[in-house]
Amino acid sequence: MAALIDIRDLAIGYGDAPPVLEGFSATLEPGSFTALVGPSGVGKSTLLRVLSGLAAPRAGSVALPGRAQPGRRTTAMVFQEARLLPWRRVAGNVAFGLEGLGLPSTERRARAEETLALVGLGEMGRRWPHQLSGGQRQRVNLARALAVAPELLLLDEPFSALDAITRHTLQDELLRLWRETGTTILFVTHDLDEAVYLADRVILLGGRPARAVRDFRVDLHRPRERDTTAFAERVRELRGALSESVADGAGI
């Protein structure tokens, strides 16, 4: 079971400029699916980079479960672009994060194969990244993160560059993988429909400097249907709050 993640009073900024995000606090329940939405420039991607340890915050703290279990990493990131290493075969890319965890190579290989099967690419391990379609590359991107069995899975608009059909397929895949692994998910998107379809909870960032302006519970039961009035109602509510926050943000 994944542990609780506690973010306290986080501030994020670039260089000497005033912070883009300030006073951000959130507690992510174990195994929850949270979407982070907001206009561009509010520091959504940077927030993910701070949570994954790629960038340091200006202020505040993030309490992540320590590296408790061997063979796992605390966080794993699914990037917007697939960012596969072109000189590694698909299976080698999936095994990338498993290296350096003290696992024997046979186990690394087995876990990479297992995770590839999980994302529906069981037969593709020997391929080179350039031999895959855009959707398949994004699955490998996802598999690379899932392979390290993270406590917290961070996704940075992972489906935004895909066509609508592939996007919807991968959204359903992600929900299935979330159920099967029980990992905690924080998902950045600017697609409100996507946020309502996927998440238990939607945090809306806005203002300047940005803070969490709204925190919605999405109480629709799963599997969710896009063409129901309840679904459309949630999306409309979210869109209203978003345009309100944009109107409030001075100078946007």
């Binding site: 794993a76 960012r83 072109p86 990338f96």
Partner: protein, 247 residues
């Protein structure tokens, strides 16, 4: 297939013109020995044992000089690409040393090492060092920053893991382009390195030319061309295997 037949045709025409020029008296055969004179000259060199000795001696200088020059140039190039202070510190040293032609180092090579194998090897090292330095520097600088961030995100953020898992594989294509240029440059340096008396192909060429044995000079020119062709062909095989992941 058409390409191959044109290549054969071009080569045949070239040899024909070369043969005709001295035979028709357009040029003295002392100045330009006809190709038909070359096999005889070659057999003479081979029977006397000069050819095998010269080839082995030069191959020794070549391979050692190439290995040392390529490894050190590549290592320093990557180090400079990864370390801003080193890059800045080297910037003017590089500008001063780089344009010095290999031949200009001959007096120093002789003073430092004497007329020895080491002197010849040194000239070859200098000849390929900068090519590999610049190739590796440029290739390592051009490694995709997004991929370095992937390394950081998956626990490979240290200098060594980054180098081994991303920088080296990511700059292999660029490094190998430099190595290939160095392969040819090193053969040119071999001749220069042996002009001052270290045994090898260059020395044998100089001896022949001072005796006006131009047919023997041509034998060694062709020998160097053939050895270069062989090393380059082997290199391409190795490179294609290393870069199999490219489309």
């Amino acid at each position: 297939m058409a390409r191959l037949s044109y290549a054969v045709l071009g080569l045949a025409l070239f040899l024909l013109l070369w043969e005709a020029a001295p035979r028709l008296g357009l040029i003295q055969s002392l100045f330009l020995p006809p190709p038909s004179a070359i096999p005889g000259a070659f057999l003479g060199e081979l029977r006397a044992g000069f050819w095998v000795d010269a080839v082995l001696a030069s191959l020794g200088h070549y391979l050692l000089g190439l290995a040392v020059g390529t490894a050190s140039g590549t290592a320093l190039g990557i180090a400079a690409a990864l370390n801003d202070r080193l890059e800045a510190g080297l910037s003017w040293v590089v500008r001063i040393l780089r344009p010095v032609p290999g031949l200009a180092w001959v007096p120093f090579a002789v003073v430092w090492f004497g007329i020895t194998e080491a002197a010849a090897t040194f000239i070859i090292v200098v000849g390929v060092f900068w090519i590999n330095y610049y190739a590796a520097f440029g290739a390592a600088k051009a490694v995709d920053r997004d991929l370095l961030e992937v390394a950081d995100a998956f626990g490979h953020g240290g200098t060594w893991p980054r180098l081994v898992k991303v920088v080296l594989p990511g700059s292999t294509a660029g490094i190998l382009a430099g190595v290939r240029t160095g392969l040819g440059q090193a053969w040119m340096a071999v001749v220069a390195a042996e002009l001052f008396g270290v045994p090898g192909l260059g020395q044998r060429m100089m001896q022949a030319s001072s005796l006006l044995a131009t047919d023997v000079v041509v034998v060694y020119m062709i020998t160097i061309a053939a050895l270069y062709g062989l090393t380059d062909a082997i290199f391409v095989q190795v490179r294609d295997r290393l870069l199999a992941w490219q489309r």
